[in-house]
Amino acid sequence: KMATEGGGCCLRPFSCEQGLLSRPDGSAAFLQGDTSVLVGLYGPAEVKVSKELPDRAALEVLLRPKVGLPGVIERSREQLLRRTCEAVVLGVLHPRTAITLVLQVLSDAGSLLSCCLNAACMGMLDAGLPLSSLFCGVTCAIDPNGVIVLDPTTQQEQVSPGVGYQ
């Protein structure tokens, strides 16, 4: 019943699908094992005067969990995603506009943040935003024996003393 686990330096089977949603400018679903995230992107679009930046596009990231209201963890992940995307998107080509990324967690079975990062990258590609480079995310965990495990599942994350994101 359990999904295949990535042991050692092996990642779970992952797949991606672009262009699923008709309304957003770009959309992508990224699946890593049983973890999946759907991203919808609008941009560059009209921006509220309070949020506009005179020399570049204003990037906003919204991460929605599946159950319940977004909390502190979602906010911190949103900031991380926003910083990553801002470093890559050529915002100076679209000043005074807004780029909005909305991520929806479809299922969470470990390594959620790296799945979000990968989904965001694929979504920006699908939307055709100008990017200076591509990025991706990998989660590593150290299991109780001190062995590094890549792309851990929820169980592996819970028993590990430390989890890092790259």
Partner: protein, 441 residues
């Protein structure tokens, strides 16, 4: 983000098409779009696609103390969220009217119909009951959110399994899924909403309106029914007057549709259960096509091409021979050529008749004038205006003064056309209202 407004042309087009009994996607007025149900890896998680409208549903449960006035009943909690990715107009944290209306409908459909047996959710009377929480997220808005949401909701509730519980005296043991198989919820019946959009003062209806049709409809009727032909909820909004036999007809249509959809749901649930039991692969990963990253899912529609050949020949024999072909292009400068002479511009009489219109329309035609550099050779309307000589001054302009550019300052390519067009473009270029020129050069 701002919602894109619907242009008047689109509105007129849609209403005319509906008057002629045509829908944009080619459906008949009683046709539903395709419903696709896919399940996730967890129990109680599903995505329902109604055409392009997509809704994600997740059911979760928790042990909580019961409500004081109902100590032996479990608690149900429903929440529908319009994700900002579903449409540009949906902003986070703004409680719009639409959201309140949809949430209320879902509550009435699922809670007031008593489709879930809440007594069976009681663990210890007065102390611990199960709280079942249903979260619905709208992922893509292409019309008829309520139908998709109600299908997703009931499918997720039927699919969900809660942990098994045993009570020994005062001790409550909750078994993990590995120890004992989780237990499904006890569901009496499956209420499903069907929406009807009304046009032409309530005389004409369409089932399952798409997003464009929803924007131009007069009113909406939603009927929630189960397969035993019991109406669970009925709501009419938009302020239209509905005749009694309209409502009865709608309820008959609903009965048919609900029967079809319920059958589809049963089949999907059975398939998923079979796959899980046999140990096969399940989850969202299975609904993605292999070896392909982009999913331009255009459902193919069968087109009848039997008579195409004959019709083409008929058309050719009946048609007039094409007008004289100008074979010689005149080269003005490198990169600019002209074929034939233009016909008189008939935009002048448009301005005369629509003087009261806003200035935006004029600026649009100016942009079009700049873009049409090549001369049109097809037949336009036969009205010929003789206003070539005077510039048309718009008396309803809000500007104090209108500066008329010298015609020589404009690109010379439009010289061979009528002066009328040139004068139109010249005076509009300096309208103070416009901050940036629409010209493409």
């Amino acid at each position: 983000m701002k919602a894109t407004p619907l242009s008047n042309c689109e509105r007129r087009f849609l209403l005319r098409a509906i008057e002629e009994r045509k829908r944009l996607d080619g459906r008949q007025c009683y046709d539903y779009r395709n419903v696709r149900i896919s399940f996730g890896a967890d129990y109680g998680c599903c995505i329902v696609e109604l055409g392009k409208t997509r809704v994600l549903a997740q059911v979760s449960c928790e042990l909580v103390p019961p409500k004081p006035n109902r100590p032996t009943e479990g608690i149900l909690f429903f929440n529908l969220e319009l994700s900002p990715m579903a449409a540009p107009g949906f902003e986070p944290g703004r409680q719009s009217e639409l959201l309140v209306k949809l949430n209320r409908l879902i509550e009435r459909c699922l809670r007031n119909s008593r489709c879930i047996d809440t007594e069976s959710l009681c663990v210890v009377a007065g102390e611990k009951v199960w709280q079942i929480r249903l979260d619905l997220h709208l992922l893509n808005h292409d019309g008829n959110i309520i139908d998709a949401a109600s299908i997703a909701g009931i499918v997720a509730l039927c699919h969900f399994r809660r942990p098994d519980v045993s009570v020994q005296g005062e001790e409550v043991t909750v078994y993990a899924p590995e120890e004992r198989d989780p237990v499904p919820l006890s569901i009496h019946h499956m209420p499903i909403c069907v929406s009807f959009a009304f046009f032409q003062q309530g005389t004409y209806l369409l089932v399952d309106p798409s997003e464009r049709e929803e924007r131009v409809m007069d009113g909406l009727l939603v009927i929630a029914m189960n397969k035993h032909r019991e109406i669970c909820t009925i709501q009419s909004s938009g302020g239209i007057m509905l005749v009694k036999d309209q409502v009865l007809r709608c309820s008959k249509i609903t009965a048919v549709k609900v029967a079809e959809i319920t059958e589809l749901i049963q089949k999907a649930l059975e398939n998923d259960q079979k796959v899980r039991k046999e140990g096969g692969k399940f989850g969202f990963a299975e609904s993605i096509p292999n070896q392909k990253i982009t999913a331009f899912k255009m459902e193919s529609a069968a087109v009848n091409t039997n008579n195409v050949e004959e019709q083409a020949e008929e058309i050719i024999t009946k048609a007039d021979p094409p007008s004289e072909v100008f074979a010689k292009p005149i080269l003005h400068t490198p990169g600019t050529a002209q074929i034939g002479e233009g016909i008189e511009n008939s935009w002048g009489d448009l301005e005369e008749s629509e003087r009261e219109e806003a200035a935006e329309e004029e600026s649009e035609s100016e942009a079009a004038a700049f873009e049409c550099q090549t001369v049109e050779t097809e037949d336009t309307s036969t009205m010929k205006e003789t206003k070539k000589d005077e510039p048309i001054v718009l008396s309803d302009s809000e500007e104090e003064e209108v500066v008329i550019l010298e015609p020589q300052e404009l690109p010379r390519k439009t010289r061979t056309q009528t002066n009328l067009k040139q004068e139109n473009t010249s005076k509009k270029a300096f309208t103070k209202r416009r901050r940036k020129k629409r010209a493409a050069y």
